[in-house]
Subunit: 191 residues, 2 copies
């Protein structure tokens, strides 16, 4: 199997995660990230990312698109939660197990900085909004769509947290399906 | 009935909302807000708020506390959603109808600025986390707690949006109860 060769954008993300982990987010400059990514310049960095913070949230648009496309592609007869489950499967499949350590680093860097936690919450809301809009396009009423999307994104984040634990041995797909099942069961006990 | 006399903190919030509405958030300085609030200084402003942005989110801690206290005070036999409903009643009761126009201004200012939208999403997540923690303290399992809290906060925001519409004539309490009922009904159709 061919070795995975990161492209420039990915090299910048990897370099940033390493530096943020080693010396902290605040102490790291864009120039250092570019240099660590293979002798690149600040200017190259800014061709890919608006600022230092965005290097950590590069996936937002791609992830939103994956979720929305998979919801749109679900069979006509799928219930809202079945469409959401298909979307989560599509998203989880993009996280290979050999990148679990990147997930752990990302999680730790974000947890350690309030500005990053704030941005991460906004990303999560963006994923929910994308999935809500895709469900509405299928004719799902807006409240049902937003609930199903919240439930699905909630399951994904719960699962990601478990997956990013170095001690974990399960795939993100497995963990996400399990979390969605548990949340569905919990929804029946709200009273 | 006695006229409502705003205290210094409230005068600063009102002045900020007026200035942000009239001349835009970015164009307004902390000194201008302090001056408009009755000839106060920048230093006084910073005794109440960490920065210009926080003047719009002053309610976060108070609102979180109201929600958590009301969840804790709900009868032992209350279901998770009944405890949430009681908390929303307590929060909604703090928004008098004669302040509907402030809600409309707040909503418009936040909608017009991406940094503020991001901060508002974080506030919403904070309210959800506070209510989730309070439900867990009642012995509600964590997934059920977080779902009930999400549903409740979702209902409150939906209702606030309707309440802040100048054409609206209903109380926030009425609108929140209605939204919670609708979301509950929607939860039954997720599939």
């Amino acid at each position: 199997m061919a070795r995975w060769e990161p492209n420039t954008r990915e090299r910048l993300v990897l370099a940033a995660l390493d530096l943020f982990t080693d010396q902290g987010y605040d102490a790291t400059t864009v120039s250092e990230i570019a240099e660590r990514a293979g002798g690149l310049t600040k200017m190259t960095f800014f061709r890919y990312f608006a600022d230092k913070r965005e290097v950590l949230f590069a996936g937002q648009e791609i992830h939103s698109r994956i979720l929305a496309d998979a919801v749109a592609a679900a069979p006509d007869q799928a219930t809202p939660l079945q469409a959401v489950a298909a979307a989560l499967d599509a998203l989880a499949a993009t996280f290979a197990d050999d990148r679990r350590d990147l997930g752990a680093k990302l999680r730790a860097v974000i947890a350690g900085n309030s500005e990053l936690r704030e941005r991460a919450t906004f990303k999560r809301a963006g994923l929910t909004a994308a999935m809500t809009a895709a469900l509405e396009k299928r004719g799902v009423p807006d409240m049902t769509a937003s609930l199903a999307a919240e439930l699905g994104v909630g399951a994904f984040y719960r699962a990601f947290d478990q997956w990013a634990d170095p001690a974990s041995e399960q795939t993100l797909t497995y963990l996400t399906r399990r979390a969605l099942g548990e949340l569905r069961a919990a929804a029946a006990t709200l009273g």
